[in-house]
Symmetry: C2
Subunit: 478 residues, 2 copies
Amino acid sequence: MAQDKRVEQITDMEVDFAQWYTDICRKAELVEYASVKGFTILRPYGYAIWENIQNIMDGMFKKTGHVNVAMPVLIPESLLKKEGELVNGFAPEVAWVTMGGSEKLEERLAFRPTSETMFCDHWHSVLHSYRELPMLYNQWCSVIRWEKTTRPFLRSREFWWQEGHTIHETAEEAQKETEQQLNCYADFFENVLAIPVVRGRKTEKEKFAGAEATYTVECMMKDRKSLQGATSHYFGDKFSRAYDVTFTGRDNKLQYPFQTSWGSTTRMIGAVIMTHGDNNGLVLPPQIAPIQVIVLPIAQHKPGVLENAEKLRARLEEAGMRVKLDDSDNSMGWKCAQYEMKGVPLRVECGPRDLEAGQCVLVRRNDSEKITVKLEDLEAAVKEQLGVIHKMMYEKALKNMTDNTYEANTIEEADKLQKEHGGFIKTKWCGELDCELAMKEKAGMSSRCMPLKQSGTKGKCVCCGRECTTDIYWGISY
Amino acid sequence: MAQDKRVEQITDMEVDFAQWYTDICRKAELVEYASVKGFTILRPYGYAIWENIQNIMDGMFKKTGHVNVAMPVLIPESLLKKEGELVNGFAPEVAWVTMGGSEKLEERLAFRPTSETMFCDHWHSVLHSYRELPMLYNQWCSVIRWEKTTRPFLRSREFWWQEGHTIHETAEEAQKETEQQLNCYADFFENVLAIPVVRGRKTEKEKFAGAEATYTVECMMKDRKSLQGATSHYFGDKFSRAYDVTFTGRDNKLQYPFQTSWGSTTRMIGAVIMTHGDNNGLVLPPQIAPIQVIVLPIAQHKPGVLENAEKLRARLEEAGMRVKLDDSDNSMGWKCAQYEMKGVPLRVECGPRDLEAGQCVLVRRNDSEKITVKLEDLEAAVKEQLGVIHKMMYEKALKNMTDNTYEANTIEEADKLQKEHGGFIKTKWCGELDCELAMKEKAGMSSRCMPLKQSGTKGKCVCCGRECTTDIYWGISY
């Protein structure tokens, strides 16, 4: 679609992917920088995407019995320090409140970087009996991590997320929860965001501070870099012991519950941009698009055109779609470019000739395909196309991931493949930290995950050459 | 309803209203104290009420064109200080972040006590033309105000709220917005929370720091104290000028937009407790009740009873109600007391004899009235009763407010009425601060509001005796 002069061009993604990304964030009006260094503002269009993500994901959580709560945003330093690994992992990134009004606080308070400690402290005071288990909690909030370098959605000193925290009677139940929530994220990425993922387990080096095991969904962006989509952690009873969370068990003895936590953030919007976007702007998966269908009347001054367009809009709204009619006096070229930039999945065009022929034209954002539709079939056709768009977007992203997953037998080979193609490099790994560090040093790649689907075959560790069975993915990550 | 031994009694509200209130907050599992002084935790049941409030109110805001955004939680001190009145009003209550990781910040950052400054700063950078106006923004978040004494929902160092912020081309439009949002709150209080309100304007002394005018909805609690329900502010172009927010007007000249803000908080849950609660616990307005209907099978071990109860539950869920079946092995007495404590508006009882007779019994929480209903009429009867309950609750609260609004001509009279009856004391007022302060000093009452519905009659100021026309309400407030 030819762009009108009034719509600014964005940087070509092949020329400068990072600048292309930032251009979309700004030009699609998703975020704006704040005058607080490292902080961003989620503007109405960006926040509307986040609201749609929240609604769908929250519904998924509730279906499996999770309930929402709100925990205090500030954590006393002494409470944060009770579990050593967690605080060591997060201490360098914590923002500290030291003054309340004009008084210096006796103990400084951390702006939550994550809330395991608060949940444990709460459970310490309310949990009594195994009858109250499991407690399946979640909260939607913002957290702060004092990052040095920041990028919209990907790395920001404040970001918005959900953090699930659960406690269970047995280790097995907690492990099942960890797995269930990982699968919930995978489901959400694939069936809502149209982003294929690799489900896997993080190495000891890459796992969450204090967790016994961390599971992840890893995605591949259009520049063939990796992005950690969401994580699910199993804690065993480590935090329960540190925070003295106990319950009277079926055997009438005091026991420690087993714990999980799992989180996903506004970073998912960054993943959507970099998985689906193109040189005309954002391309949004239909389920999270604030506007799913934009109705554009052609030659709207001609008799009947505007009334008809409004009728089509009303019908689509009635059918439960998020639809907007743009009857402003901007040019058709400008409007098309504008809604392409904003990633609206489907455009409905209807001019005088269409009206006469009792039809309208649907234009798909993702491939610009035009489909002529009889007016009486509008709702069914639009609904179908939104499904088609999701499927096409997913398959295109899957092809990108599949085509750019390479196998390597040595670090040199892995390095060469990464330099030439990017993507995931799949190898065997002996499990030793030294080999993991060697890959980072010699090929610039971190381990992404050990996929849950293991081949079970024997092979040689990509670094030390020892015989081993573990499959692992490496990549350069956001 | 006789209470089972396992359900703890709460303090009688006639004996100690404050303790009764705290008992409900804890025993109905709405909140729990955190180990951070002055902070509270919203537990699942309390948070579920807040979610229902959010959903309904957010829908109302969106219907009038408002959109949600997310602003940074930290505000640089220099930014906060640009508007003198606001910062003077809030400075004593601000929590300050002074450290990021291990580094001392060059400039300390305020945890937002309110976000006028951040919105203005954002508009300063994004607003260009009158074509972009109005900007009708809202955000759901938590704020911190470092209060000395705290009480669940009513006064807490952190609380959850929505803050609307809008800018407009003309003063008139902004004033209309201020009024519209005040009416939106009044509508929400009366038609959702079943709490009658007096709509009015705050005096200069009681208005929001920095506002040109503050409007309020004032409610009366069961102990006949006043509670400020929600407020709507008009700022003129004061903040626009302070933060250099400008746009090119229709005349092609730079202009300052006119601004409003309006907010309501988790305090509304406190208002619900104190307006509707009784000595058996919480009484929830049906629209915000997490469980609207509780189905309790009587003699559930008898054949067919449990299956039938589950069928009733499923039918009510299908009809769009929030319904739960309690088939636990707790006693009927305990279950009844438990769901009364939690304020569930309607109980459906169904035992073997009811089943035989093809009926069930509805029991209203608010007045314990029992209504026998044919099974085939279940959905319609429940829906009707939920409406009846709302109406009864509203009317009871309205009677409390009307019966306890007294007129007085002198401070002595006002003082006597307040001491004897509590409630609102309605008087004439000359508008002078000295008279307002005298009322506080001599009768312990603050001005609540000058009602929008003014009688227009002449009378004598309750304090100085000067002739004047303004009607004003006084009270002892939360």
